[in-house]
């Protein structure tokens, strides 16, 4: 069973369109994240939710809106897509507060290409 899954895996779209990426985790974790990895492989956190509540909101354009309908799902909606939004978007989850490790489990990524 896939622990953290994302759909779609690839997304090619025109500038100005609106698109969504979905993420689901079956690990029972309370915290989920969205990361953006650019062409230089730099991983930067965008958002984090803990049990449906937003806890991290980095300096991301407000065209990006995360939504967490329940603690197993964290979706990312992007309005008015721009060329600079082209990247790989990773979802991740973790269970903070564990005594030993609070590692993050990453999904397979969604490669977004904006033309």
């Amino acid at each position: 069973d896939t622990a953290v899954s994302q759909t779609p895996k690839y997304l090619v779209t025109q500038m100005g369109n609106d698109k969504s990426i979905k993420c689901e985790q079956n690990l029972g974790h309370d915290t989920m994240y969205w990361y953006k990895q650019d062409s230089k492989k730099f991983l930067k956190i965008m958002f984090s939710y803990n049990n449906k509540e937003l806890i991290i909101n980095e300096t991301v354009p407000n065209r990006f809106s995360p939504k967490s309908p329940d603690k197993a799902h964290l979706n990312l909606h992007i309005n008015s897509l721009e060329l600079g939004d082209s990247a790989v978007y990773f979802c991740a989850s973790s269970q903070p507060g564990l005594a030993v490790y609070n590692e993050q489990f990453f999904g397979p990524g969604t490669r977004l290409t904006v033309l």
Partner: protein, 111 residues
């Protein structure tokens, strides 16, 4: 804001040579984590270091956390082609869920 610097950005080695990547944080960390990302893949957790001066080993990989809890290193002995990928360190401060990733070191191994 918190920054995590990682060097080198790229490392090319011959199979059998050793490899080291270094990580330095601008602030004291509560823990540091290391991840490996294979080409075309996603980051996969390797290890977490919590204690000052901690050293942990996983087969040919040795991880160290500095005494001041601001720097860390990953050393691979006798690299193999299966070690190819990008290695990221990620630092976390106390009281924060946020992991700040270094820019990664891309390792290529020539057979």
């Amino acid at each position: 804001g918190q920054q995590v610097m990682q060097i080198p950005q790229y490392q090319h080695v011959q199979e059998g040579e050793d490899f080291t990547t270094y990580c330095n944080s601008s602030t004291t960390l509560s823990n540091i984590q290391w991840y490996k990302q294979r080409p075309g893949g996603h980051p996969v957790f390797l290890i977490q270091l919590v204690k000052s001066g901690e050293v942990k080993k996983q087969k040919r990989l040795t991880f160290q956390f500095g005494e001041a809890k601001k720097n860390s290193s990953l050393h691979i002995t006798a690299t193999q082609t299966t070690d190819v990928g990008t290695y990221f360190c990620a630092g976390q401060r106390g009281g924060s869920e946020k992991l700040v990733f270094g820019k990664g070191t891309k390792l290529t191994v020539n057979p």
